[in-house]
Symmetry: C2
Subunit: 207 residues, 2 copies
Amino acid sequence: MELSPKTVERLAIYQRLLAELEAADVDYVHSQAIADMVGNTSAQVRRDLMTIGYSGNPARGYAVRELRLKIETLLDRRARKKAALAGVGMLGRAILAYCELQKPRTEIVAAFDVDPSKIGKLVSGCLCHPLEELPRVVTEHRIDLGILTVPAPEAQRVADLMLLAGITGILNFAPVPLRVPSWARVEQVDILAKLETLAFLTRSRWG
Amino acid sequence: MELSPKTVERLAIYQRLLAELEAADVDYVHSQAIADMVGNTSAQVRRDLMTIGYSGNPARGYAVRELRLKIETLLDRRARKKAALAGVGMLGRAILAYCELQKPRTEIVAAFDVDPSKIGKLVSGCLCHPLEELPRVVTEHRIDLGILTVPAPEAQRVADLMLLAGITGILNFAPVPLRVPSWARVEQVDILAKLETLAFLTRSRWG
DNA sequence: TAGTGTGAAATAGTTCACAGCC
DNA sequence: GGCTGTGAACTATTTCACACTA
C-alpha cells in the first residue's frame, strides 16, 4: 500500500488526536467527530483510514485504541528515524526545545554549529558539535534526517555535507531551494513565503 | 486574474531571486535559469509568468528588472499588510528576529504575551504588549494578520481573540487545527508533522 | 437509520508537446 | 536553433453520492 505525503501528514495528526481521546477514555469515535476536530471533511477521514486498511463499523464508528495502535505501528515502522540539526541559532534552538518537549517519533540526536562559543554546550538536552564532525557523528548514530536552520548563504553547502555523510532527507528552513540528488528528499519550510502568501490571499477588514 | 496559493508562493520566491539577479546586474534571464535556481521545471515558471500576464521574448528571455517590478507591484497591492505575533516564546522570538532581518513585505508591528516579565520589552524591535490589549492594538494599527506561536492548549482561545479583534488571516504554528469562520483564513505550519512525514517518506541508507 | 466503504465525478496542479517567434 | 506561449494530456487530491450494514 502506498501512501501519499498528504495522507501521511494527516495520519500523524489523527494519531495525536486519537492519543488524546484515548487518554480521555473515549472508546469509539465517528469519522465526523475526527473531521471536526482535525478540520477537514469526514469523507476524507474515511478515505484515509480506508487506505491504511482500517475499518470502522457503522453503528459505533472506529475503535480509538485499536486505530491509534494501527497508525502508530504503521508510522513507527518507517518514520522512527534519527535527525541532526545544523544551525543552533534562534530558530534551531526553538526547534530543539520544541522537540524535547513534544518527543516526536523522530528524535533529534545531535546539533551542529560553526560558532565556537556554542560547541560543547547542551541545548535542550542535545549536544552541539562543530560542523566538521558532522560526517563522523552521522555515521556513528546512523542518522537519516537533517534539519537545516543555517543562514541562507550556507544552506547549500551544509546540505551537501549532510548528503555526503549519508543523510537522505532534509527539512530546510532556509529560504533557498536546495539542489539535491534524486535519492534524497527535501521538505521546504519557508515561513516568510507562507506569511506573504497568507497576506495575499487574505481579505482585509479595514477597507 | 485569479492566482492559486501555490502560484503566489512561487511568485514570492521568484521575486526574491530576481532581486538578487538585479543586484548582480543581470538584465535578462531565461525560464530555464529561473527554474534551475528555484528548483522546479521551466514549463512551470513560464506558466506562472504567463498567468500574471508577463511576456518574455524568445531571444533574450525575461527582463529581470521589469519582471521583478511587475511581481512586486502585484504582491504589494494585496500582500502589504500588518501582522501581530502572539506568544513570545522561543519560536516567536525566532520569527521576530528573522523578520526584522529579512524585512518581508508583511511587517510584524506588535507582539503579545501573557508573561508579565516580557511585557513592555522590545523584542527584535517589536514591543511586547499584554494579551488583553490585543483588540485595542489591532484596531489602532489596522492589523490583518496574526502569527500564532502560543502553546497548543491556548491556540484556539487566542485565535478567537484575534478574529474578534478584526484579524482575518492566521499563521498557526501550534500543532492543533483551528476552527475559524469562513471569512477567515488559516495557514497551518506544523513542524513536527512535516518532520514525521519527511521521515516516513525518506529511504534510509543504513539498511 | 445514521454512518461506513468506495466507485465515480470534480477539482487542483503539473508536465508535455509543439506552433511561432527572434 | 533555442526559447517562449499555451492547449491538451496527465497526475494528484478532494468531494460526491449512494449501496450497504450493524
